[in-house]
Symmetry: C2
Subunit: 780 residues, 2 copies
C-alpha cells in the first residue's frame, strides 16, 4: 500500500500529495509535503567533535487536505470492511490526473460507486483539487461526505533501525488560527523549532439532488465540510474540492492566510474543468519536446515515461527551493537534497525543462552565505555546500560520508556549466553561475595542495562510492575538481567585470588553471587500471563468494570499517568519472576500468545501474547496458530497493533517461558540443528522443540501420556523430549509419549481484507516441 | 580546588577517594569511585551504523563516606566564611597518608584547630579510614561533629562541550536498604541500568572529654553519626572513622551488606594505628625495590615519586578489574580503560609490582568472551578488545578513533609477553597469556591479507596518533601485529598441549609466522623516512605558522576531516613504534624519522612527551629528552593539559618513569633480555633505579662517569650494556663507562609547541633516598 502511495504520488515540486486513499484509511504512510517545510531535530553524538552539525532538518507531513470521508447509511466507506466489488486507480501521464473507481457494498448491503480524480496543478503551484462523486447503485441510501483538513495526523512509527529511513516526527504543528465559512475552511499552524508558518485551506463546489445539506466547522487541528443527502439508485452526489497551501518563515499570519485564500479564489474561478484543461495543455507541451520513445519493449517504454513524469513533478515548480532525493513523494532521507539533484536530475531537466534547472541552481545560489560560513568553519576558502540539507545547512550526522564528500561542490559547478552551455543563458551565468563556479573553485584550491613534484593532490575526501570514505586522490573528485577549476577560470575570463566584483583577479584565475593542469590522477601501472583512490587496488577483495544474498545491502550487515578497507563498491564512482569526464580516459582504459569495477560493484545504491548502463554501452556491452537501463527504470515500479514506500528514487528515475540518452544515444556534453555515438541493444528496434538546446529542438531517432538527426525547432545546430562534425539544419534531417562497437565478452559482477537479464516485454507490438501505449499505471 | 582534589587523591585501585575536604564543601568535584561500578548510558548517533555500540559505561560517584562536618557553636566550619588562620595539606609517599591541619576562627570569633589524616588501605582493600581531631583554642566552645554517608551527592554540571570530559550522571543510585546502630551505619543501593549493588558502611571510635554524646541515624541516601560536646581551650575531640565498601552485580543484598560489615569489623579490630602501620610497612617494601632516585633536580625527583606513588595507587589492588586511564582519581574519560594501561602503566608495574600486572591481564582475560563476540560482529576471527571500556564492552561512540584502533590487541599481547619474560610466570602464560596471544594473533591474521606480491597488509586501521585515522599499513600497528603473531606462534610452540586445547594446530602457527615474516612496512625512499601509514608523507603539512596558541588542542578548534588529511601528529605513533619495536629500525632511520616527526608532533595528548623523551635520548638529543621527561612528570602537578581536575593522567605519570628508565637508562626489552644504553643529560648528576626481574632485584646506578649494575637480590642476571653481554652476579657489581652518543642538532618542533626548556631545580643539593627529600606535596 505504501509503495503504491509513492508510485501514484502527485506533485508539482511545490506541493506533493502521496496517493493516500480519499477516505484517509487504510494507509501505508500518510503524506502531504510542502517544499521547504521542515522541522529541526537535534543531531546527537556519542562522541562529539568540532564542526559537527548540531541539528538536522526533517521534512514533515503537513495538514492533510486530501481527505474526503464517505458514510453510507452511517457505515464508513472502508476497503477493509464490506465487499469491494471493484477498485482501480490509474495515473495518466498525458493529463496528470490520478483517477480512481470503486464499487463497494457496505456490511449492511448497500452498494455505491465512487469515482474520484485528483490533481496537483502544474499551472497554479499552490493548488491541488479533487473531483469526488458517489453514486447509489441500489438504494435509496443516506450519504454523508466529510471533506476535511487534518493537521498533526498520527503516523505509523518505527524505522526498524535502518539509518536511511526518515525520523518520524510526531505532531510537529502548533495551531495558530482557524476559521470556517460556507464551504470553506482555513487552518494556520507553525512549526515548533524551525518557525515556519503553514496555512492550508479548502473550498468546495457541491452538486447533488435537490435538498442536500452542507455544514462547515473548524477546530485547531481540523476543518470539516459535511454534505448529506439521500441518493436513489443512479443518483449522484459530486464534490469538487479545491485545496491550497501557503507557507513562510518570515511572513505574518494574515499574509500567509490571505495567500491561501487568494489561491482558493483563483482555483475556484478557474474551476475543475479549467484546472484539468491547464494541466493537459502544460503536459502536452512538455511531452511534445521531452518524450523518449522505445520500440520493442513496452514495459520499458512505460517505465521510462513514468520516470520522466516523476522527474517533471519533482522539478516543475520547485522555484528556488531544493529538489529532494525523493521529490515530494515520501519522507525518505528526511526529505533531504543531495548531489543526486545536480548529477542525475538536472542533466535530464537541462534538455527538457531548462527553466527548472535555472530555478534549482538559483536555490543553491541563495544558500551561498551558509556555504561560505561552513567553509570558514572547516578552514577552507570559498563555499562548502552541504552533503544533505533542506534549507542549506549541513544536516549530515556522520562526517566521513557527509562533510568529506566535497565533490558536491564540483557537481553543482558541473550542472551550472551544462545549463549555461545548453541554454546560452548568459544573464544567469553572470548573476548566479559565475559566483557558484568561483566559490567552488576557491574551495578546491584551498582543499588541495601541491606536492614536492608539483602535482596537485586532494586528500582525505570521500567520493561517490559510500563503501569507501576519506581517501586520497579519489579519481572522480580530482577530475570533477579539475573541470570546476578550469570552468571557473573560463567563466571569469568571459565575464571579467562580474568576476572582479567577486574579488577574482588574474592571479587567482591562474592559480585555478595551474592547479587544474597539475591535478594528480592515480593510475595502477601493474594492473593497468585507475584505482578509485590512492591505494584502492592494493586493498583486500571483499569476500563476495562468502556473502549470501540476505546480507545485502551490505551496510546493514557489516561495519563501515570493514567495507571501507576492502575492494567493494556500493555505486559507480570511477565508472561515473568515466561518464562525466570521459575525455580524461582512453577507450582502452574505459574498457579495462569498467571490467575491473564491474566485479566489485554491488549496486547497494540506486545511483549506480544507470551509470553502469552508460559505460557498458560505451565499451560495447549493449545487452548489459540494456539490463542496467531496465533496472534503473524499474527501481520503483518493481521496488528493487525495498524502500519505495518512503518515496521514489528521483535520481534513479532520471538515471533511466540518462541510460537511454547517454548510454544508447551515446550523448556526451563535455566540451560545449553535443557528441553522439548511438548504438542499440538487440532487444530494441528504435529509440527516439528530443532535446532542447539553445533555441533548437533536436530529435534523435536511432534504429539498427542508422541515426537520423532532425531539427524540429531552430535554424541550425552543430553536433558530432562518432567524432564527425555535423550541422543539422531546419528541414534537412541528417542520417548516419550506426557504428557497431567491437564485440566484447560480457563483464562479470559479484555473485548474486548480476542485473536481471532483460526479457523484452514486446508482446504488445510497437511503443509509439504518448497515448498509443498503456500509459496509465494500474494497481490494486 | 578540583585540581588539588585529583593530585591528593587516595586509592588502592579498588576504592578511590578524591581529596575533597572532610566537611564536604566547598568542593571542586566530589568523588568516591569503586573499581567496576558504573552506570550504562545510551550512545546516540545522528546516523547509526551496523556494529555501533548501543550504550556506554560511565564511572559514577558512589556513596560518599569521607564527610565529617564540624559545627563550632552552631556555625559550620567552612573555609569560605570566618577567618582561615592556616591551612595545609600534605601527602606523604612513605606512609600513604593525606594529612590536613587547619586553624580557623568562626564568624562569631571562636578559634579551633582541626587535624585530619586519611588513608585508603593498601592491605585491606575495601577499607578507608580518617582520623579527625578538633581542638578548642579559645573557648569554651560547643562542638558538633557529623560523620556521614551521603548517596547521590549533587555534582557540579556541564562539561563545556569538551568531548573528553566525562558525562555527568545525576542520582545514579537507587536505595535498597539502610540501617544504623550505635556508632555504625550502612547504606545499600543499586544502579538503575547496570544493576550493580553497592553497600557503603562506616563505624567510629570516639575520644573526647567526659560527657560527650553521640547519636546515629540512617535514611535512604544518608547515614549520620553525630557527636557533641563542649571543649575548653586545649581540649580535643577525636573521631576515628572506618569506611568500607562492597559491590557486586550478582551477589544478594545480605551478602554485599555483610561483606561491608565484615570489612568494618576487621578494620576496627586492626584499629587506626594498625592500619597506619600496615600502610607504612607495605610502602616501605614497595619503595625499597621501586624508587627512582635523581641527583640534580629536586623538583623532578619529587614529581617522579609522585608519579610512582599514583601508578602504585592505580594498580595495587585492581584485582581482575581494569586500571582506568585516570585511575580512581576522577571521572575523566568516563572512567574508561584504554590501551594506555598495557602500553604505559603495565611496563612500569611489570618491574616493580608484577603481581598487579598479573591481575590486570587476568582482567583482560575475563573479557575474552565479550572480545570474541565483538570480533564475530566485526567479521573477524579471534578477539577484538574494546578501545574504551569499564567492564569489557566497546564503549566508543566514534568508530574511526575507536573500533578502528585495532592495535589495542597487540598492545595487550605485548604486555603479556613482557610480563612473562620478566617474571618467568609459566603458570600464568599457560592459563591466561597463551589464550590472549592466540586470540589476538587470530584477529590479526583475519584482519590483514596478502597482496599479489605476497606482502601482508593491514588496511583501514587507526594507529596511536588520533590526528590520523583509518589509514593503510600504519607502521606502528603492522610492527606490533608482527610481534603479536610471532609471539603467539612461539608461545604455542612452548605450550603445545594448551595450544591444542585452544584449537591451534601447526598450520595455524605457520600462518602466523608467515604473515609476520611477510609484514609490509611502508618506507618513503625519496625522503628516507617511514611514513606513519601509507601515503602519509605525501599529505599537505599542517599550517603550523598560521595556528595561534589558543587554537590548541587542535581537536577542539578544527574538524577531524582537516586533521586527518594533513601531516600533523597528536601523539607519538611512528616514534612509539621506534621505542617498542626498536629492533625494526636502524640507528640512522631512527634519527631521521625522529627529526621528521618532531616537527609535526603537537603533543595535544598526554601520551606523547614520554615517548619523545625515550627516542630523543636514543638518538642523542639528551637535553630535549630531559625537557620531555620533565613535561611528562609535571603533566598533573603543573596541570599542563588543563584537565587535571577530571583526574590524573596515569599513562603520563607512568611515562615519566619510562622516560627515565628507557630514555636515560636506555632500557629495551625486545627479545627477552634486558638491554641498556645509559646516558645522562647535563642537568642530572645521577639516576638510580631498581627492577624486579624473575627472582632478582637489579639496581642500575648511572652517573656521567659510568653505570654500575648491582644485584640486590638473586644470584645472577644476564643483560646487555651498549650491546655487550654481561652477567651481573650477587655481591659483584659491574661498572661500565657511559658511551656518549654523537652530538646532534636539536630537533625543531611546531612553532609554539616546543617543550619548556628544563631549568634544573637543584637549589636543594642532592636527591637521595626516600625521606631525605621533600616528599610531601603541599597545597593551599
Amino acid at each position: 500500500m505504501a509503495r503504491a502511495e509513492s508510485v501514484f504520488a502527485l506533485s508539482n515540486g511545490h506541493v506533493g500529495l502521496r496517493a493516500n486513499l480519499d477516505e484517509g484509511e487504510p494507509h501505508g504512510l500518510p503524506g502531504t509535503y510542502l517544499n521547504g517545510v521542515f522541522e529541526l531535530r537535534p543531531l546527537p553524538y556519542g562522541e562529539g567533535g568540532y564542526g559537527y552539525p548540531e541539528s538536522s532538518q526533517s521534512v514533515i507531513n503537513v495538514t492533510n487536505g486530501k481527505i474526503i470521508r464517505l458514510l453510507v447509511d452511517d457505515e464508513p466507506f472502508d476497503l477493509r470492511y464490506g465487499e469491494l466489488r471493484s477498485h482501480r486507480r490509474s495515473l495518466d501521464f498525458r493529463d496528470g490526473l490520478l483517477r480512481r473507481e470503486a464499487e463497494w457494498t457496505s456490511p449492511a448491503g448497500r452498494t455505491v460507486k465512487v469515482r474520484s480524480t485528483r490533481l496537483v496543478s502544474l499551472t497554479q503551484r499552490a493548488v491541488a483539487a479533487v473531483e469526488y462523486e458517489v453514486e447509489a447503485v441500489d438504494g435509496p441510501v443516506r450519504i454523508v461526505l466529510q471533506s476535511e483538513l487534518v493537521a498533526n495526523e498520527q503516523l505509523p512509527g518505527g524505522a526498524g533501525g535502518d539509518p536511511r529511513a526518515a525520523a518520524v516526527l510526531e505532531a510537529p504543528l502548533i495551531a495558530e488560527a482557524h476559521h470556517a465559512l460556507n464551504s470553506k475552511a482555513v487552518l494556520v499552524h507553525r512549526t515548533r523549532f524551525s518557525g515556519i508558518r503553514v496555512a492550508a485551506g479548502m473550498d468546495h463546489i457541491i452538486e447533488g439532488p435537490e435538498g442536500f445539506e452542507s455544514t462547515v466547522e473548524s477546530h485547531e487541528d481540523q476543518g470539516r465540510v459535511s454534505v448529506t443527502t439521500v441518493l436513489r439508485p443512479g443518483e449522484r452526489l459530486k464534490v469538487v474540492k479545491f485545496i491550497a497551501y501557503g507557507w513562510s518563515a518570515t511572513r505574518s499570519l494574515p499574509a500567509v492566510r490571505d495567500q491561501v485564500e487568494a489561491a482558493l479564489t483563483a482555483a475556484r474561478y478557474t474551476g475543475w474543468d479549467g484546472l484539468v484543461a491547464e494541466q493537459s495543455s502544460y503536459l502536452k507541451d512538455f511531452w511534445d519536446s521531452s518524450d523518449i520513445e522505445i520500440d520493442g519493449d513496452v514495459e520499458l517504454q512505460q517505465a521510462v515515461r513514468f520516470a520522466i513524469f516523476h522527474v517533471l513533478q519533482a522539478g516543475a515548480r520547485s522555484e528556488e527551493r531544493a529538489i529532494p532525493a525523493k521529490g515530494l513523494t515520501g519522507p525518505g532521507y528526511d526529505g533531504h537534497s543531495f548531489w543526486d539533484t545536480e548529477t542525475f536530475v538536472l542533466p535530464v531537466l537541462t534538455y527538457c525543462l531548462p527553466g527548472a534547472v535555472n530555478q534549482a541552481l538559483r536555490w543553491r545560489h541563495t544558500t551561498l552565505p551558509l556555504a561560505r560560513e561552513r567553509a570558514g568553519q572547516l578552514g577552507l576558502a570559498g563555499a562548502v555546500f552541504p552533503w544533505r540539507t533542506i534549507r542549506g545547512e549541513e544536516c549530515s550526522g556522520y562526517w566521513p560520508a557527509g562533510t568529506a564528500a566535497f565533490h558536491i561542490g564540483a557537481d553543482i559547478a558541473s550542472a551550472v556549466v551544462r545549463y549555461v552551455r545548453a541554454t546560452g543563458d548568459v544573464a544567469f551565468e553572470k548573476e548566479y553561475g559565475l559566483e557558484l563556479l568561483v566559490e567552488t573553485a576557491r574551495m578546491w584550491r584551498s582543499l588541495g595542495h601541491h606536492d614536492a613534484e608539483g602535482q596537485f593532490r586532494i586528500e582525505g575526501v570521500t567520493g561517490p562510492d559510500e563503501y569507501s570514505a576519506v581517501a586520497d586522490n579519489n579519481v572522480f573528485t580530482n577530475l570533477m575538481a579539475q573541470s570546476n577549476l578550469r570552468n571557473a577560470a573560463e567563466a571569469a575570463t568571459r565575464h571579467q567585470p562580474e568576476a572582479a566584483a567577486l574579488g577574482v583577479d588574474t592571479e587567482e584565475m591562474a592559480a585555478w588553471r595551474d592547479a587544474a593542469g597539475a591535478m594528480f590522477i592515480p593510475y595502477d601501472e601493474k594492473l593497468g587500471v585507475h584505482p578509485q583512490a590512492d591505494g584502492f587496488t592494493d586493498h583486500q577483495f571483499w569476500d563476495f563468494e562468502g556473502t549470501p544474498p540476505e546480507k545485502y545491502p551490505l551496510l546493514l550487515h557489516f561495519p563501515y570499517f570493514d567495507l571501507y578497507r576492502k575492494q567493494v563498491v556500493k555505486q559507480a564512482d570511477l565508472v561515473l568519472a568515466m561518464q562525466l569526464r570521459g575525455d580524461a580516459f582512453t577507450d582502452e582504459q574505459k574498457a579495462r576500468n569498467f571490467a575491473y569495477y564491474e566485479r566489485l560493484t554491488v549496486r547497494d545504491s540506486s545511483l549506480s545501474a544507470c551509470t553502469q548502463a552508460v559505460i557498458a554501452a560505451e565499451v560495447g556491452q549493449l545487452d548489459l547496458a540494456y539490463d542496467y537501463t531496465a533496472e534503473a527504470a524499474m527501481m520503483d515500479l518493481h521496488d528493487l530497493g525495498g524502500n519505495t514506500r518512503d518515496g521514489l528514487h528521483m535520481a534513479s528515475l532520471a538515471g533511466a533517461c540518462i541510460a537511454l540518452v547517454a548510454g544508447f544515444g551515446g550523448l556526451r556534453d563535455h566540451n560545449g558540443t553535443l557528441a553522439f555515438r548511438p548504438r542499440l541493444p538487440s532487444g530494441l528496434r528504435r529509440l527516439t528522443f528530443s532535446m532542447q538546446i539553445r533555441k533548437c529542438l533536436l530529435e534523435v531517432r536511432i534504429t539498427h540501420a542508422g541515426t537520423t538527426y532532425t531539427l524540429r525547432r531552430g535554424e541550425a545546430l552543430p553536433l558530432t556523430h562518432e567524432g564527425e562534425d555535423l550541422v543539422v539544419r531546419a528541414g534537412t534531417p541528417v542520417t548516419r549509419p550506426i557504428v557497431k562497437p567491437p564485440a566484447q565478452e560480457r563483464c562479470g559482477q559479484p555473485p548474486g549481484r548480476e542485473p536481471a537479464r532483460r526479457q523484452p516485454h514486446a508482446g504488445v507490438a510497437g511503443g509509439g507516441k504518448v497515448g498509443s501505449a498503456p500509459d496509465h499505471l494500474a494497481a490494486e
